[in-house]
Amino acid sequence: MLALHKVQFRQGDFTLGADLLIPTGARVAVIGPSGGGKSTFLNGIAGFIATDGGQVLWQGQPMPDHPGLRPLSILFQDHNLFPHLNVMDNVAIGISPDMRLSQTQKQQVRTALDQVGLSDKSASYPRDLSGGQQGRVGLARMLLRQRPLLLLDEPFSALGPALKDEMLDVLRQILHVTSATALMVTHDPKDALAFANQAILVADGVAMAPQPIQQLFDAPPPALRAYLGHWT
């Protein structure tokens, strides 16, 4: 269970409030208008933004301050990969940032690459990969890290519809293998429905408690209705 207990995330002048619970294993879409605080929400949980009161708890324990010690992996829209490292190393830093791997760890990296279908690209550099392949390298790193909480900040929004579906498939497989809890920011209601069973609406500086996603879309509150327009 991920618990945000009366948390205030402060970033400059902007403050985002959250008081909610997310059950273990949930797949949550984080939706809402741009500028509403979706990224602040994820970056706050990841530990990049200091909390201004309140507590973030994982399985009842307060999360450590340092982002690297939190039981999670995060994937951004861009710049997840280091251009001067090849695919193998870009994945390997997920478990060994020093890039000193044991034989077992090397095998684990190869397995992860295999699972996202990139085993033949391990010596390539990011500049030689397509956008979809770069996304899969990021997913392979996530898979390798085996953290119980996954945060995804619009990682596929720059991809075309077919590629995006493909990525969501890979992601679903990862979740199936790891049974991790996942939060994904998306601005596409279709993606949200395809991926998530719950949704958190972030608008006007407040992250609301998660609701079953279909229920939320069937009876959207005013802020969501304004954002969705005539989508339904």
Partner: protein
């Protein structure tokens, strides 16, 4: 149609004329120097030691500037503090600060009669002396550390914030952090920054003139000057000039192969959002304090010392001011016309033209004012008395020295305007007049103003060819300052320095302001 052909021909003639003038200045003067020179056999032991010293001090100055620049830039990239933006702006100041003023300021802090020596005597130690090699290197670091820091800071600010976060989320060790973030960054910025500073230290003259000299502190530029002014040995001056030209040529070719850092200063103001800031606060603020003090103290020393003595300056300060301003204005007009001509002629051509334009810029950087001065002197000497032309020669050499920087500012702006609006011009069928007056010039107004400000300030502070050509009656402000320093009238020298800096800044501000004045510009 005919109109269009004429326009193209005109542009080619214009660009070609500027190119020809530039080549005459750089290569032409070198040829003059080569034919008059008496070969390497003419160079004595002292000359060879000058060559060795030049390379050694340039290497050391560039190495120190870049090495110290790394922790300073890292600290500026990592920490948020009051006055951060002001400090970053101040890092740009040494670029337009007259070199001789900087040297005077350094003497006021580090010299025999400087603040540090005062403290040392008071505590029973010997006084510092920075004449010779230490002074040359100290001054070169003073002028180039800020430059290197700005390049490095620019490198840091191009790293996307996500990348820092990825590293943090991996709980990376400091070593892993270095390998993932800093090593690739340094690898891309350091070689170019080192080479640029090396080049600037290779061709720097005023520093060596003011604090250099002696067997272990004479650069080639200074040796040329001494052969010229003290021995009037034109053959030796020419031989030395040829050596200098060759060295600069080699470095210029290297600079063409290694991309030199861009100097546009974009992105420097981005505020850091780094979680690791607090862990490094102590070290970072130590570097920030040291570098800020190193920059501010010398300038402050001059201001404190000079302000009170302005009233006691001889009336010559007026004539020197007028001479300096006139040279600066003439040099600005020449520089901006050349830069605009080159930009318009080359901005729209293909890769070859782009390389050519880039090459011109590097050629300008690698050209030593004293080599050009010697060459011009040798060309005029058979026909007339070269000193008569001191003013026009100074103005044109200054224009050429500022050209690389003006090009760096103007070329991208011209290119961008054409890229953004050329299709619009064609689709609206705008006439040449409307295009020029309503689109091109208004769009270029700001870079033009900035480039002109740079050219004017650089010329105001110049102490190069003018030192070579001036007779005792002719005086610019930097020359007057240098002569007062030579006579150990340091109070008056400081007062002239204040006047000089005020006038340089005023000229820079006027041009830069003029560029910003247009209401419609973003």
């Amino acid at each position: 149609m005919a109109d269009r052909i004429i326009a193209i021909i005109l542009r080619i003639i214009l660009g070609g004329a500027v190119l020809a003038a530039l080549l005459l200045f750089s290569i032409g003067t070198a040829v003059a120097v080569a034919t008059q020179g008496l070969g390497l056999g003419r160079l004595g032991v002292a000359d060879w030691s000058a060559i060795r010293f030049t390379l050694w001090q340039a290497c050391l100055s560039a190495g120190l500037s870049v090495t110290i620049g790394i922790p300073v830039a890292r600290a500026l990239a990592r920490q948020k503090f009051l006055g951060r933006q002001a400090l970053i702006t101040l890092l740009g100041a040494p670029f337009i600060l007259p070199v001789i003023v900087g040297v005077l300021g350094l003497l006021a802090v580090f010299g025999r009669a400087g603040w540090i020596s005062d403290v040392l005597t008071w505590t029973g130690f010997a006084k510092l002396s920075i004449y010779g090699a230490p002074g040359v290197i100290l001054a070169h670091v003073f002028f180039n550390l800020p430059l290197a820091t700005r390049f490095l800071l620019q490198g840091w600010s191009t790293v996307p914030s996500e990348r820092f976060r990825v590293v943090q989320s991996l709980a990376a060790s400091p070593w892993a952090y270095f390998r993932l973030i800093e090593w690739p960054l340094l690898k891309s910025v350091v070689p170019g920054a080192f080479l640029l500073v090396f080049l600037l230290c290779l061709t720097s003259f005023a520093v060596a003139l003011a604090v250099g000299g002696g067997p272990r502190g004479t650069t080639i530029e200074l040796a040329i000057y001494q052969a010229f002014r003290l021995d009037f040995d034109l053959g030796k001056a020419a031989s030395l000039a040829l050596v200098q030209f060759t060295l600069c040529g080699v470095v210029a070719v290297m600079a063409f192969l290694v991309p030199l850092p861009q100097t546009d200063g974009l992105g420097l103001g981005r505020l850091p959002q780094r979680l690791d800031a607090s862990g490094h606060r102590g070290v970072d603020f130590m570097w920030i304090t040291i570098s800020a003090a190193f920059l501010i103290l010398p300038l402050g020393a001059i201001l404190i010392r000079g302000l009170g003595h302005i009233a006691s300056l001889p009336y010559q300060v007026f004539t020197a001011s007028i001479t300096s301003v006139l040279i600066a204005l003439a040099s600005t007009v020449v520089c901006i016309s050349m830069a605009l001509g080159l930009s318009l002629a080359f901005a729209r051509r293909g890769q070859v033209a782009q390389n050519l334009a880039e090459g011109m810029g590097i050629l300008g950087l690698a050209t030593s004012p004293l080599v050009v001065g010697t060459g011009i002197f040798l060309m005029i000497f058979p026909f007339a008395h070269p000193m008569t032309f001191a003013l026009p020669i100074t103005a044109s050499v200054n224009a050429m020295m500022a050209l690389p920087f003006a090009l760096r500012v103007l070329m991208p702006a011209v290119r961008e305007t054409y890229a953004d609006y050329l299709t619009l011009r064609c689709s609206l069928n705008l006439t040449r007049w409307v295009w020029l007056h309503r689109i091109l010039l208004p769009r270029l107004r700001r870079p033009l103003g900035f480039a002109a400000g740079l050219a004017a300030a650089l010329s105001m502070g110049d102490l190069g060819v003018i030192a070579l050509f001036a007779d005792p009656d002719l005086q610019t402000l930097p020359l007057m300052l240098y002569r007062l320093m030579g006579a150990y009238r340091m109070d008056q020298a400081a007062a002239v320095a204040v006047v000089l800096v005020a006038q340089s800044l005023a000229l820079f501000w006027m041009f830069d302001r003029g560029g910003r004045g247009y209401a419609g510009s973003p």
